[in-house]
């Protein structure tokens, strides 16, 4: 693998060079907290920001995404025929993505790009995107990524992993996409591979030591689905929940969406929105029946999906990278770490 060093004095200039070929995304601070946004030409990513309120999944999977459109103007020959909307799939780069969030994108990929289905919108956006991660030197207290199968310096899903060394970044180029991005920025000061790797290893160990939160997941796969489903603890878990869905909206791994059609004047649009299993509408049938009609059923669904169904179906651990966003954002303090423990330790009487 190829290592380069980037003097922080050259960072902004490099980003500017890359703007000729890339749309640049990165963390910025605004009135509502730290957000990941497309950056205007004079804006630079806030590399030492805390965890963004929303995850980077929106770069590939926006909360509202137009898919198809048709004209309803009957004088037009192709009226009422749905056609793909034009997409901007020019290269984009996400700067300062957290390593666990890059791993989460690989999880979301299981849903949007697999042998049975390839979602064209997601796949094209994915192909166009380069992920430049920054290792987390000081993990926060809600971070339990190491026990969720990733970590503060995990490389999975990244094209470049950088480490912050005060006056410079040390960058490990992991893929061809990463190489192309570095070239576009004009970053080409190579660093000694063995030394750099050793430095990365030290930083990773240091950072991992600073993670204090954890979950045990070792016994989830051996539990029976029905035992967990029928376990008596769900009423207590769900009591405080207001079914706002914040936990699923902020989550980098939640992938559910709902398709809607809307017409405005003579134009019809089909688009998709993030959906959430915490909303009663998620399962509301046209007949009026709702198989998941109560709050406790919905809360159970979220945790069963993340901590049991996903575990059983994909054999890749839990559907959670331990970013802690849902823990920090849930307005009634429902904590997935506690629920995971309860599920992992549950013995049917």
């Amino acid at each position: 693998m190829n290592f380069i060093t980037i003097d922080k004095k050259d960072w902004a200039g490099g980003i500017d060079k890359s703007r000729k070929t890339y749309r640049v995304f990165g963390p910025v601070q605004d009135e509502n907290g730290c957000q990941l946004k497309p950056l205007a030409p004079d804006v630079y990513p806030l590399m030492d920001a805390g965890v963004t309120v929303m995850s980077p999944k929106s770069v590939l999977f926006p909360q509202t995404e137009k898919m198809l459109t048709a004209t309803l103007d009957e004088s037009s020959e192709d009226h009422h025929i749905m056609k793909p909307v034009e997409k901007d799939n020019t290269p984009r780069v996400v700067l300062g993505i957290r390593p666990y969030d890059a791993r989460a994108i690989q999880m979301v990929k299981l849903n949007f790009d697999n042998p049975d289905y390839q979602d064209p919108y997601w796949c094209e956006a994915y192909d166009a995107t380069t992920f430049v991660g920054l290792g987390i030197n000081r993990p926060d207290s809600c971070d339990f990524s190491t026990s969720a199968g990733t970590g503060p310096f995990s490389e999975e899903g990244l094209d470049v992993l950088m480490a912050d060394l005060d006056d410079r970044y040390l960058a490990k180029i992991l893929t061809e996409k990463g190489e192309t991005w570095a070239e576009a920025c004009g970053f080409d000061t190579s660093a000694d591979a063995a030394e750099s790797q050793a430095l990365f290893d030290i930083l990773r160990k240091e950072a991992e030591k600073n993670i204090t939160a954890s979950v045990d997941t070792d016994r989830l796969s051996e539990k029976s689905i029905l035992d967990l489903y029928e376990a008596p603890f769900w009423d207590d878990v769900a009591f405080s929940c207001i079914n706002c869905g914040t936990c699923t909206f902020v989550c980098p791994t939640c992938w559910c969406f709902d398709i809607q059609d809307e017409t405005k004047h003579k134009t019809a649009t089909r688009f998709r929105n993030w959906d959430t299993c915490m909303s009663p509408l998620f399962t509301h049938h046209a007949s009026g029946h709702n198989p998941r009609g109560s709050k406790v059923q919905r809360v159970r669904q979220r945790f069963m999906h993340k901590l049991k169904y996903f575990v059983d179906k994909y054999d890749q651990g839990i559907m959670c990278v331990g970013c802690g966003r849902c823990v920090a954002s849930c307005p009634v303090n429902i904590d997935i770490r506690e629920v995971c423990k309860t599920m992992n330790n549950y013995e049917k009487e």
Partner: protein, 318 residues
């Protein structure tokens, strides 16, 4: 306020032991600093889980209807604003007085968690409350602040800190605040020219993710199907179109007219920290100025929007 928790626990243990109530709705300690969690306690052995502190900013009236068993009573702990929403619930026939045992908690205000977080560059790792003194710890520093200085805006504006209805009080009443300018924030927005005012509201909701936490945390929003969730007719689009986001916020606010107690739960729960009270406060001001009405103070009086009064300030109704 920490002194009243022992009394609350004793009252609850007694109620549960005697079988007078089937459960108690209160607050439990949260799993992270500055968090608390609504909880239902059903056994006297669990009353130790109950806490009450300046982070208990949710409105427990929101949990009452759902928690109510077929027969019998439940107890609920209620700050001033919670008690006013219980009154509103009763006035709107959502729950009857004899099904509730109300444990009133005189309140000296809840803290603004975002304001506290903004005092620190790094993450808050501990939060200790002793009377008016808050000790807040982060990896880099430890700071003592006065609770009064970091109260939520609605608590600074509150003139009903003592519960207006209760079966028992958990402490002696506290002194009510008197305000020179109870609606300075509304007046400031009202004074803007229309473009600036429009821009203010567009900016306010620019990061809204339509999670509806503000609606779901609000005791007033109990419709079985909210207008935003209707599909036939569909009143409002479901995407992130600005018009649809505006429609949600405007209509939600109107649905709270003459009912909102300014408890602040909507702002408390918003993952983006959006001050949606900028919408409801104007209606509260109108209700007060036009009808002399503050919601949730009187179980016998009908709210302004469901009575006809010959001295209505509007001409068109006469």
């Amino acid at each position: 306020m920490d002194t009243c928790i022992e009394k609350i626990r004793t009252i609850c243990a007694d109620l549960l032991a005697k079988g007078e109530v089937q459960k108690v709705i209160g607050f439990a300690e949260g799993s992270i600093p500055m968090a608390s969690r609504p909880i239902a306690v059903t056994s006297k052995d669990d009353v130790e889980k109950l806490v009450f502190n300046a982070t208990c900013g949710l409105n427990l009236a929101n949990y009452v209807s759902e928690a109510l068993p077929k027969d019998g009573k439940i107890a609920v702990t209620a700050k001033g604003c919670d008690s006013r929403n219980l009154v509103t619930h009763m006035v709107e026939n959502q729950v009857s007085r004899d099904r509730l045992y109300i444990i009133g908690i005189p309140c000296t205000g809840m803290v603004d968690k975002r304001k506290i977080a903004a005092l620190f560059e790094d993450e808050i790792t501990d939060f200790i409350e002793e009377g008016d003194t808050l000790t807040i710890v982060s990896p880099q520093k430890k700071e003592k602040v006065s609770k009064t200085d970091v109260l939520r805006h609605n608590c600074r504006m509150c003139t009903h800190r003592n519960p207006v209805v209760f079966d028992v009080m958990a402490a002696e009443p506290v002194e009510e605040q008197s305000l020179d300018q109870p609606f300075a924030d509304v007046d400031q927005i009202a004074a803007m020219d229309p473009e600036t005012r429009w821009a203010h509201f567009q900016e306010l909701t620019k990061n809204c993710i339509r999670c509806y936490a503000c609606r779901n945390a609000c005791p007033l929003c109990y419709c079985p199907t909210c207008f935003v969730d209707e599909s036939s007719p569909q009143w409002v689009g479901k995407g992130q179109d600005k018009t649809d986001i505006n429609t949600f916020h405007f209509l939600r606010a109107f649905h709270c007219a003459g009912r909102c107690t300014d408890c602040g739960a909507c702002v408390e729960v918003c993952p983006m920290g959006i001050n949606v009270r900028d919408f409801t406060r104007k209606l509260n001001k109108d209700a007060l100025e036009l009808f002399g009405w503050e919601a949730g103070l009187d179980m016998e009086k009908r709210p302004p929007l469901d009575v006809y009064s010959p001295d209505d300030p509007d001409d068109f109704i006469k």
